[in-house]
Amino acid sequence: MMSISLVDPRVRIALGLIVGLVAGLLYGWLIQPVEFVDTTPDSLRADYRTDYVLMVAEAFQAEQDLNLASRRLAVLGPAQPHTMVETALVYAQEEGFIQSDLARLENLADELARRGGTPEIGGP
């Protein structure tokens, strides 16, 4: 059976490497992680994304400006606007949103699918 001894320089080097690695990970992940500021809308949590899309649908109901709605949706990422709205609609249905909210989302999804709303700006 092989014995491990600190007298062996290879053991000491391996030990130093492990201690250093653990210290680096602790510092990088816990003590000083990447700053959590200046995020973009495409990183929003699913419920916030859905509410964002719902706001676009609510505003669209009054403004009837499909280009503006598409531009607002474009900040959520590279997916097609109608896909984003349909994704939000599925989430809203699963989470039991009220009927009027679902109707607004359905209306925007239908309009985008029918009139082929294309974002005029790219995602973040």
């Binding site: 600190l6 007298v7 320089p9 000491r12 080097i13 391996a14 030990l15 130093g16 490497l17 492990i18 201690v19 250093g20 690695l21 653990v22 210290a23 680096g24 990970l25 602790l26 510092y27 990088g28 992940w29 992680p33 990447v34 959590f36 500021v37 200046d38 995020t39 973009t40 809308p41 990183s43 929003l44 949590r45 699913a46 916030y48 509410d51 964002y52 719902l54 706001m55 676009v56 609510e58 505003a59 669209f60 109901q61 009054a62 403004e63 400006d65 503006l68 607002r72 900040v75 973040p124």
Partner: protein, 264 residues
Amino acid sequence: MNWRDWLPSLAAAVVGVGLGLFYAWSANPVEYVDTAPSTLRQSYRQDYLALIASAYGATGDLARAEARLSLFELDRPAEELTALAQRRSAGDGPASEAEALAQLAADLGQRPTPLAITQSPAATVTRSPASAASATPTRAATALPSRTPTAGPPFSLRQRQAVCQPALTTPLLQVEIADAAGNPVPGIEVFVLWDQGEDHFFTGLKPELGIGYGDFAMQPEVVYTVQLPQGADPVRQVQSEPCEAVDGASYPGSVMLIFEQPNN
């Protein structure tokens, strides 16, 4: 073993720290998914706030708008929305967003208790009908009129009143500006000149007092001239007049100037 025997271990530890940081910061950094709106970059925050206002403009659901605004933990939401509305109305965004922001700001702000306004220091009257109407705004009455809210004939002074309000520790030059339809107009720059200097302020920065309202702290015994960029004539000899408190003591009063666009 002496300390030299541990040097390779120390070097290995340093390398290990380097590898750990490389892995933690570059190879597999903390991933920022599932973020909250409050962490958004400033420009996206502003777009998000404008969208909250636009959605509110469509639904009229103030509770929902407030819930959404609460995600940002704004110190003074009404003021911040008003400032954003002014930037948007100056051309940074759709005009409909500026209107919606101004509307939401106005609806969030609490209307003031009617000021005690006097024609003479002794007599107390209520605010003018136009001012009182703005205390319970309707959507049409307080919305930003348009992207160019000052279009039309120049503003003219409709009323000039002494204001006696003991709660005001500093006498104020108060201005209310309305368009020809009587709708309050935010974002109007008001110039104040006196012998020793000049200053300016904007309407709409205190939405809780009305989006067409602005004020300026006066020095007692200084005579001011007030001028609007789109004003017909400057208002001269504006000065704090003494008011009499209930206990008979005298204190410096404020002045209210109400401007309005004449009907064509």
